[in-house]
Symmetry: C2
């Protein structure tokens, strides 16, 4: 049975796998992952297979196994697995024959369905598994197995189901083996607790079987199961339902977090929904999802139906993973869909995902930027430990106050046998300007003055202070520089004056100067408050001195902004033959990382990302030259690269190229390569899908605090509808190849925006010929 | 493929499984477990299956996951698994068809062999896996895969092999993720360390492939693998060899235990054997095993060839599991073959296994009794914590100084949802007399005066002191009693005056009185030394007062010794219908444990064990009455029960019954019931097999410090040859139905022994007509 992904224009909300192959379990586990922002879970099959990765995470519940490991999201005891014995033999798709196999995720409501007919010896059974994580009840998950006996004989069925805490994070166990019990005679309950962060979990399961069966409870170490045994008559159909909930002692929707209260709350919820059937519970969740879809729907009329599917895929996952309920949490690089990157948040949030939330869910965006405000303590801690001042944001972030949580040691070097040092946590410093940039974008897009005054301005000053302390004076050149960093291109470690880093640091500092002037002049109470923290006169002086003297790499004669001091002197290599293949494995068959580091090869957008984010600093001709120079040298060996290139090439009028990048970008997770999502979906790339459509082809941008709308559709697109929030107003855009129509309810404030350099005012409707 | 065990008289050293069934993985994992006393490992298949339990243990390396869990033997990162891809597809017996399947363990040298022909699509391959743990080099394990392409096409083979630390003890991870590396370009090395006991492990793997292949190292979290990729031509045969070693920082054969030294030692050993091929390494191990077999071989001429196989099975496992190298370690109830009972030692050692070592390997027996001497501190700790004096031995023991390590809380009660308390660690107190009894037996059998004077006497006084402090005075009856205990029959908790407990405590105390008198009279320096510790005058007075007044339950009018104060008043139940079936599951379908506790139902030999160990206290008629009373009430729901009944019934002349028990006893692990050994082999029952043959049918017994030899063969046996050591002399016995011949080299001291009440002296040969 080939296991490739299947997309069908007749099912415009569905991603599907038509066959099953045990080697590719990770693909649908990740791309069909379920979640509601509070919890997320991989869509492993109910029956177990070697190679599966069962993961369930609750956002923000970080723990570290020991002092040698960094904190990570712990894999919660599994509540999905069913051990099914058919006439005494373990059910598995590796036995017998399987027809009509389909596993699908309905993106519209997060319903996972898996159905097939299984024939083994003289047995034929029709299986249908349903599963969802409720968007309406954040603690609730539910599954339903429907079983139909297609044979003329009775079949003995045994189902073992419960809670299994023998899972771990690749061998690292984060939980104590807590109390277990059967509450009120029917609710299985387990109380694991994280070993160091001491977060109490309460997991409760309730089974509902449509026919009577003998029941036998079974406790194991770290596990509690019920065993059901019954006879399935010929042509009989039964359903086996499982309702499962998770509560934790850090849940912010609970008042009393004592263990007793948590246990009672958990039992009470399952008791409350006792009379609701599976469809009713699903309908509640579907309704809540519908509210998300109703907010700024995107419609693409394209020759390729997958374009429309891709934005649904992206938005589904963005909402399945974003902890909209709690500002103490952020989005992991794999969301809640896998152990990759340990649930840590990176610059991926600010540069790749935050724009989606800024423009469509400012309430969620506010949580994400507030998370960085709560992270100031951790950022101060990091700055101090590195000998700097101000707020140096962690490259990887977990709980806000933790500061830096990037692992220090990576895999062993094959030759020397020694562990290799991971430098990102020390010298991938652009994260601090990325956070500042994200804060500024949030303020500009939402116009959230309260946040700006209470939190945002402080972050922007604190990060500027970091940069001021970070700069090194080069007395020979009489300028300030930034040595020994990693820029966005992570192939190049320990470089000096990475352009992206220097330019964004410069922006952060100069913006802080303006901000101080503005506050002094217009917002005296804020100025006074912040002055106590920063001594603004002194800070301004320092920023003025340093920002004017910072080295900003200038174009060469050929018009190329050097990625860093050494890049342009490195050897050249023609990547054409490697870029024709999927991924970059083939390059690394010929060269090792050390050799790649010695060549003009770039992992991902670096100078080009700078030109995209700060477009006003560079003219179009310069951008074209740099695009033509750097793109052929870029492997796109990071899921963050393609969307940047797609948007920039659209800006530069290279629409075919842009659409090529778009297609590659949407296939990062949705594509045919069955192994790339094993560790989880690529969260930033999902934000990138929205950006390519709305900011790239739709042309919406926030540049220098001004809204700009300059759409340019790829030639396969006839129409694009999208919407966004701006300063509290809801704007709907309709784009055709030659026309842009903007519509806004006329009872709000008017909005000004730029289009091709001209300022427009939108009160009700504006139509622009393209 | 049925997976039942297969025994064949043509293969008198082999236990075999002819088929493979994924549901019964645990059976051969346990009964074919490999070991050399330093390390032990379950014989899981190379390819992985759902339901497998990969376990490797190094004796004595206890660790506890957290303060809520008791210490246990940690499951060491796995070194056996091979992930094999055949033309890109994962090899598994659940795919394709399998013929000629045989998995067998050669008991003579511990060589595990698994071979079969596998047909899948257009592929046909002959597999042969070999594996052993070296008895000659305690740190070394080796495996060899031979692969033969039976098709006319080439086949692409990929093998992934290395060290995988993502295993755990049912979810509890005992190791840090230590350093990993590839040493000298070819030795994979991983350095996990236990989380609390801080034992450093060094695991090293070296691969040898008979043809050249592309090689790719791969590191994962807690794991390091090499990937081999090659083409197997038609009819080509290749071999893939894996040599693996484990060293730890508590190894007593190493001088310098720094990490660097350990790493170098490990690499040096594998380097040293680089030129030896698999067969040579196996031959070394076979030779060392042969020395074990040459010591007192047992030959049984029986109508049933399995009788002979059973003693080989028993001795194989006893030597695979006994830590002959280190007196700081003991034998776990499952040896080194499974996670059951966490590697803890129980009374199983003294009462069931020690006799084998006393009589055949006194050097190993010395280690086992020395372990109890080293355990005095722990025993004092336990006594003090319970408000007693002297040495109260732990019901479950791990590291000697740990004291009690029995878990306090067990599985949740299904009805109340509350965890149930495990009482054995508090009130199953007969372990202290069992240890004293074992020490005395060791001294009597070996005549090891040094041990007696330096250690044994002290233990015997210290345990007597415990009992003196333990007794409770009953003023109504004017006697001392022992309330609130669990006797050997663990169905009955919180009973008063369990006969086994009271009689053995009485023996311990009265022996101590004799000992004090003897030392005072004959061994003044020892008396003085011990007097400093115990104040022997006062202790003797106390023991005399209490031992004369201890309540020793006397026979009822019907001649029944009450198991405890309440047993004979409980309800009766006819167990006949339950005893006809295997196991006791059927009883527990009708009654719960609470109900069973209220009836005259006994789990295992209790009064009868007392009568076996202290036969002089009871006349034959009384024994017969009690046998006839208690045996029908005994479920034998403990692997410790059957051998006791077999020996006692042989003593009582019930030879057919005895042979019945013998047959049931040898089938505890070797039998057809495929689930009973899942958690590991039954170590005590293996000692029981030797006891049934040599002490039961062979009639060798140490009673009241006197050797007694009274054989009585079951009617299916024509001849029994065995041997034993006694006071440094090596004695060979040949038993025929009507004749006993004893042979001893005539250059040693003469030996006296009893036979049917008559004393014989053996200088060279004695023949007795039976």
């Amino acid at each position: 049975m080939p296991a490739l992904m299947n997309y069908n224009k007749e099912k415009p909300w569905v991603i599907e796998q038509k066959g099953f192959e045990q080697q590719y379990l990770g693909k649908t586990e990740s791309v069909m992952a379920l979640g509601n922002g509070y919890l997320g879970t991989r869509s492993s099959e109910e029956e177990s297979y070697i190679g599966e990765k069962r993961d369930t995470f609750v956002a923000g519940t970080f723990n570290n196994f020991d002092e040698n490991e960094v904190t990570e999201l712990p894999n919660v005891p599994d509540m999905w697995a069913l051990e099914i014995l058919i006439n005494g033999e373990l059910f598995s798709l590796s036995q017998g024959s399987v027809t009509n196999y389909s596993k699908q995720l309905n993106l519209k409501n997060g319903l996972l369905t898996r159905s097939f007919i299984w024939t083994f010896k003289d047995i034929q059974l029709q299986f249908k598994f349903l599963r969802f994580v409720s968007m309406a009840r954040k603690h609730l998950m539910a599954s339903q197995l429907t079983l139909n006996n297609l044979t003329q004989k009775t079949i003995n069925i045994q189902i073992k189901s419960g809670i299994n805490g023998q899972v771990s994070n690749e061998g690292s166990q984060h939980f104590t083996d807590g109390e277990k019990g059967l509450m009120n005679g029917k609710f299985i309950q387990m109380m694991p607790r994280t070993t160091h962060s001491n977060i109490q979990f309460i997991q409760t399961v309730h089974h509902l079987l449509s026919k009577s069966a003998t029941e036998r409870p079974e406790t194991e170490r770290r596990a509690f199961f019920m065993n059901y045994n019954f006879i399935l008559n010929s042509e009989e159909i039964i359903s086996f339902e499982k309702r499962a909930s998770i509560y934790t002692s850090i849940d912010n929707d609970l008042k009393d977090k004592s263990l007793t209260a948590l246990r009672q709350t958990a039992v009470a919820e399952l008791q409350n929904i006792d009379k609701k059937d599976f469809d009713e519970l699903l309908a509640e969740s579907t309704n809540t999802w519908q509210k998300i879809w109703d907010k700024h729907p995107i419609t693409i009329q394209s020759k390729n139906f997958k374009d429309q599917l891709a934005i649904r895929f992206a938005k589904y996952h963005l909402h399945a993973m974003v902890p909209a309920h709690d500002e103490h949490m952020n989005i992991g690089a794999k969301g809640l869909s896998g152990e990759g990157y340990k649930g840590h948040a990176f610059w991926d949030t600010e540069i790749f995902m935050l724009p989606y939330f800024n423009f469509t869910h400012p309430d969620i965006a506010k949580n994400l930027v507030t998370y960085r405000y709560l992270g100031l303590d951790g950022a101060h801690k990091k700055a101090i430990s590195n000998g700097y001042r101000g707020a140096q944001y962690p490259w990887e972030a977990a709980k806000p106050a933790d500061g830096e949580v990037t692992p220090i040691w990576g895999a062993a070097d094959i030759v020397t046998g020694q562990a290799t040092k991971i430098w990102s946590g020390f010298i991938e410093q652009h994260i601090t300007s990325d956070v500042a940039f994200g804060i500024k974008q949030y303020i500009d897009v939402t116009g959230d003055d309260d946040f700006e005054e209470e939190k945002g301005d402080e972050i922007l000053l604190d990060t500027a202070q970091f940069w001021a302390s970070r700069l090194e004076y080069n007395s020979k050149q009489n300028y300030y520089e930034i040595d020994n960093v990693i820029g966005p291109d992570e192939y190049k470690e320990h470089v000096n004056n990475n352009s992206y880093t220097n330019y964004t640091a410069h922006w952060n500092m100069t913006y802080a100067i303006q901000l101080i002037e503005h506050l002094k002049k217009n917002k005296s109470p804020i100025y006074k408050k912040l002055n106590k923290k920063f001594n603004l006169v002194k800070l301004k002086e320092e920023l003025e001195e340093k920002s004017t003297k910072i080295f900003l790499p200038q174009p060469t004669k050929a018009g190329i902004i050097p990625q860093d001091d050494s890049y342009l002197n490195k050897k050249l290599l023609d990547l054409t033959k490697y870029k024709e293949k999927d991924g970059v494995d083939s390059l690394f068959h010929d060269y090792n990382l050390e050799q790649v580091n010695q060549m003009q090869i770039t992992k991902q957008a670096d100078v080009l990302l700078l030109m995209l984010l700060f477009e006003g600093l560079f003219d179009k001709e310069l951008k074209l030259k740099n695009f033509d120079y750097y793109e052929p040298k870029t492997t796109h060996d990071s899921s963050l690269s393609l969307s940047t290139h797609a948007i920039l090439s659209a800006d530069l009028g290279k629409l075919d190229k842009s659409y090529d990048f778009f297609n590659k970008a949407i296939n990062i997770d949705m594509g045919e390569y069955m192994k790339s999502s094993d560790a989880g979906i690529h969260a930033a790339s999902l934000g990138g899908i929205w950006q390519m459509i709305v900011m790239g082809f739709g042309g919406v941008r926030m540049i220098d605090s001004k809204l700009r709308i300059e759409p340019h559709l790829p030639k396969d697109w006839q129409h694009l509808d999208y919407g966004f929030d701006y300063h509290g107003e809801s704007i709907h855009a309709e784009v055709e190849p030659d026309k842009l129509t903007l519509i806004k309810a006329d009872d709000g404030q008017s909005i000004t925006f730029l289009h091709n350099g001209k300022e427009y005012t939108l009160q009700n409707t504006v139509t622009i010929t393209l």
